[in-house]
Symmetry: C2
Subunit: 248 residues, 2 copies
Amino acid sequence: MVNRYKCVVGYDGAGFSGYQVQPNKRTVQLEIERVLTTMNKSTVKIVSSGRTDAGVHAVGQVFHFDSTLEMDGHQWCRALNAMLPEDIVVKSTERVSPNFHARYDACQKEYRYKVQQTTMRDPFTRNVVTQVSQSLDTKKMQEAARYLVGEHDFSSFCAANTSVVDKVRTIISIEVQEVYQNQIEFRVVGSGFLYNMVRIIVGTLLEIGTGKRTVEDMNRILEARDRTKSGKTAPPQGLYLWEVRYDE
Amino acid sequence: MVNRYKCVVGYDGAGFSGYQVQPNKRTVQLEIERVLTTMNKSTVKIVSSGRTDAGVHAVGQVFHFDSTLEMDGHQWCRALNAMLPEDIVVKSTERVSPNFHARYDACQKEYRYKVQQTTMRDPFTRNVVTQVSQSLDTKKMQEAARYLVGEHDFSSFCAANTSVVDKVRTIISIEVQEVYQNQIEFRVVGSGFLYNMVRIIVGTLLEIGTGKRTVEDMNRILEARDRTKSGKTAPPQGLYLWEVRYDE
């Protein structure tokens, strides 16, 4: 009998060419499928909530897979973590309905983006935050972020090379806060995201935080529905897929 | 005219086969000498306060070098950081007396060792702390550390494969403190250290912290002057050469 399992996984994106399998590249999907296939003694494919790009991290990525093996969540975690490389950790595994789908059933995602303000580069955090040497006005970034909350056409915040036609998405909340001294965290919750959307939003907010653009520019950028009007795509190493939520 | 410069450097040890030049290995010394030789248009050798092993980090390693170039500290830092890889940062450079010697003149060193208590492995900190799954009794480790302060024969805390004969060293202070939730930091200041001394001290303290050994065992281990009596050598990724102090 085949069982469907739902798995929550974290990974340090620094050592991967992204999530999705690509020829001759080390990817998260490849490492996990290799281990599951070994355990299962036949090919196992996994289906995730979505891809992450090279260098992007996950704290709570979700995938599902089917297996004839019958183990409880604790046993799966122990077995998988013993065989997976150190930069991937399986946090929980549970048996779910055969109808569960990690991508189609996801109803909310939270991304976080970490920025460290530092005048001198910090070798220890270079892969896990984005280092910024200018000072940032958190309050202005908070104000500008409010324009984005709600249902909007996010064409200005979508990578130009996408095939997606409908660019209307809903952002449920955006918080901008200083979590430690010199570290600012952006927390973006939405029902769905376009390609590079969080990184373009953060890149634009950073330009507002440094004073290169004004708070009100954000509204004009959103209404322009034009990628050339928004800021630079913020680099991948600050981005974390934090949580994927499903209806019970 | 040749000038002598003193340089303070930090590095993430994860990507290096240690500090010292070795054939066909990526080392900190090699990267720095390559950049200085390019800038100087002739071979430059650097002399550090001492080696660090593969995987060990530095926040304040010190080296000196001689150069005919005349630049102020700020210019040196800018030029070196522009050419050095991202896992090395030059923090300060200053012109010193031609008699200054980074190794012989060092009068105190501080090492720090970072331990994270976590039941589930954390992919993001695996290269910058040592992860421990057992709970640790900080108070017991503090008490045991007191036995080591002062001038002692540290034969029990020196790697067996050393050629050093005199194993008497002075530890000025050892602090054990919880710096964040779930993170414990050991801070060891001494006038000089034997090979692997801090890592063997920490390894022994961790065995006391988990209850495998008692506080009083530390005194017996010290007096035994025998490496086989002390704990395991703690892994390199938790260790930082924090500061090297010189007499003014």
